[in-house]
């Protein structure tokens, strides 16, 4: 399978990365080189094989549903590019 430029544009949008018009062609070429490389997997018969979801046989541990951490909003906000009044801010979402 290979991707066309419209697909590259759509994937960039899904990934929330803006791509300039002149970047589309080189990106298409790079992505297609990778897709051509991974294509060899289709030669393999995987019928009846379970997909691997973890490398160690481990069930997720459970703990008491209690608060174990927190109460330091100033630390949480210390790296925010634009914090205000104890909150993260984003550009206006609702008109």
């Amino acid at each position: 399978m290979s991707v066309d430029q419209a697909t590259v544009r759509r994937v960039a949008h899904l990934a929330r990365i803006s791509v300039r018009e002149e970047e589309l062609a080189p990106l298409q070429e790079e992505l297609n080189a990778i897709l051509a490389f991974v294509e060899q997997l289709s030669a393999l018969d995987v019928s009846g094989v379970e997909p691997m979801s973890g490398v160690i046989p481990l069930s997720l541990p459970l703990r008491e549903d209690v608060v174990t951490d927190g109460h330091y909003p100033e630390k949480i906000l210390a790296n925010a590019p634009d914090a205000e009044g104890g909150f993260f801010t984003v550009p206006k979402v609702v008109e």
Binding site: I17, L41, V46, I56, N79, A80
Partner: protein
């Protein structure tokens, strides 16, 4: 007398215990060496003040006989580990000004045991690379050069700063992370020892996530025993990482020098890839001979799905990366580039903050997880991963204790030498190492010989889950037979 920074960690620890010098003197010798080596670009940040304060505290503990297992040992930290109050960039512009308000579990355990932090080490952006050339803060120059040639070489990647710093005597040991070979490949390129432990052996808490089902932390060192000492402090159960395993951490040093008599070593025929250089083939045979001489039994084995490991990796890792890196949105931390609305802010922030390789992998990951392609790519790759793990399960069930392979198909290459147009060319560096991450197994790279032009070459040993001790025993056999590989010409300090 050998300069203090050229001692192995094991030697420095013994001499410090005998009070031949102080921890402050040892740390100062590293800080002096670092000041002369800035041209290598191994450190992104030097924390000299913190280092000297920690070393002074070590001296106080030593004089009260309260020293920990790594008391006073100066360590460099890959910039993928969050360090409380010290900038952590993951080699990316998007985290250029990020100062974590917390410490990763692995580094916290090193400081608990008395180690001294010298600074943060350069790496490929978000650990995506095999040459350290994708770092937003410039490539790392290897302390190694080809004989009679001053071409700057890569130290490998993604833990290129860690490998170069250990090899150039800029720290006594370093932390690394390994998702597809990022500890073992740079260790092979720099004549150092690098260990990727079993998945779950070290906590991933506080390590910048790349591909969570593959990422593991591990040590870089100038000797096998040094690596064993470091891993003992780094490993252990952590309730904050639900994939970390609640198993006793052995005293790995006890395994160093233990007999390997009767151990069965598998030589996988599928690793004899086309175009592999004759010197690598020869090194591999010599490695088998060294283990045989020490009483191990060497047998031919087959790992039939080996050729599918790299393509499976380049689906699984980007898919997980595209999900993990969704958090860099310009809201809670890191870079923000303003836009008219929130979507434009996201898109501009991520376009400005991520370099080309990271963008490529996020986009591949997004594509293989998108509607209509999930089954064809991601689900299939996860099935292939089961087959690769089954290959190893089968040989271990036949009584094989460890698998011996070359670490890399070639020695280190020059900075800028690999084609930029075809990303796959760079990916082939990891052809012998990715299988280990996909199967979650422990692997060690130990230097074993030189290329024709005088560059170090490494051998990899792959073990059963949680049997790192066997790997340390086998690696010591190689070190005893092949010697250690210190850089002899400190050209950068002249």
């Amino acid at each position: 007398m050998t300069a203090l920074n050229q001692l192995t960690l094991t030697q420095a620890r013994e001499k410090l215990a005998l009070r031949e010098f102080t921890a402050v003197e040892l740390t100062q010798s590293y800080l002096d060496a670092m000041a002369q080596a800035r041209g290598l670009n191994a450190y992104l940040e030097e924390t000299a003040e913190k280092a000297l304060a920690m070393a002074a505290a070590s001296d106080a503990r030593i004089s009260n006989s309260e020293g920990g297992p790594l008391e006073g040992m100066p360590i460099g930290v890959k910039d993928m580990f969050c360090t409380d109050g010290v900038a952590t960039t993951a080699g990316s512009k998007i985290l250029e000004n990020f100062v974590p308000p917390y410490e990763s579990t692995v580094t916290a355990q090193l400081w608990r045991d008395g180690a001294v932090m010298l600074g943060k080490l350069n790496n490929d952006e978000f650990a995506m690379g095999s040459s350290n050339e994708t770092s937003a803060f410039g490539p790392v120059v290897s302390p190694w050069r080809r004989e009679g040639d001053t071409t700057p070489l890569v130290p490998g990647g993604s833990s290129g700063g860690s490998a170069a710093a250990v090899a150039a005597f800029l720290c006594a040991g370093a932390t690394g992370t390994d998702t597809g070979g990022s500890i073992r490949q740079p260790a092979a390129f720099t004549g150092t020892v690098g260990m990727k432990p079993t998945y779950g052996r070290c906590s991933r808490w506080g390590i910048v996530a790349y591909a969570s089902s593959l990422d593991q932390a591990g040590p870089f060192a100038r000797s096998v025993n040094d690596a064993a000492l470091l891993l003992r402090s780094m490993a252990g159960h952590d309730p904050k990482d639900s994939t970390s395993v609640d198993l006793r951490v052995p005293n790995y040093e006890d395994a160093v020098g233990a007999s390997v008599k009767g151990k069965r070593i598998g030589i996988p025929r599928e690793y004899r890839v086309e175009g592999m250089s004759p010197e690598i083939v020869e090194l591999w045979e010599q490695g088998a001979e060294m283990l045989r001489d020490a009483g191990a039994e060497v047998v031919d084995i087959s790992l039939p799905h080996t050729q599918y490991a790299l393509p499976a990796y380049y689906i699984v890792a980007p898919a997980e990366a595209s999900s993990n890196l969704a958090r860099y949105d310009g809201v809670r931390y890191g870079l923000r580039v303003p836009g008219r609305d929130v979507a434009e802010m996201y898109e501009r922030t991520r376009a400005a903050g991520f370099g080309p390789e990271v963008r490529r992998r996020i986009m591949i990951g997004t594509y293989v997880l998108s509607a209509g392609y999930y089954d064809a790519y991601y689900l299939r790759a996860q099935k292939v991963r089961s087959l690769i793990k089954r290959d190893f399960d089968d040989v271990f069930a036949q009584g094989v204790d460890a698998v011996l392979t070359p670490t890399t198909p070639s020695p280190a290459f020059g900075i800028g030498e690999k084609s930029k147009a075809d990303p796959v060319e760079m990916y082939l560096n990891d052809v012998f190492t990715v299988t280990v991450n996909l199967a979650g197994l422990p692997g060690i790279s130990v230097p074993a010989g030189f290329s024709a032009d005088g560059l170090p070459l490494g051998l990899q040993m792959i073990g059963r889950p949680f049997e790192e001790e066997t790997l340390f025993s086998l690696a010591q056999v190689i070190e005893d037979a092949a010697g250690r590989f210190p850089v002899e010409d400190l050209w950068w300090a002249k």
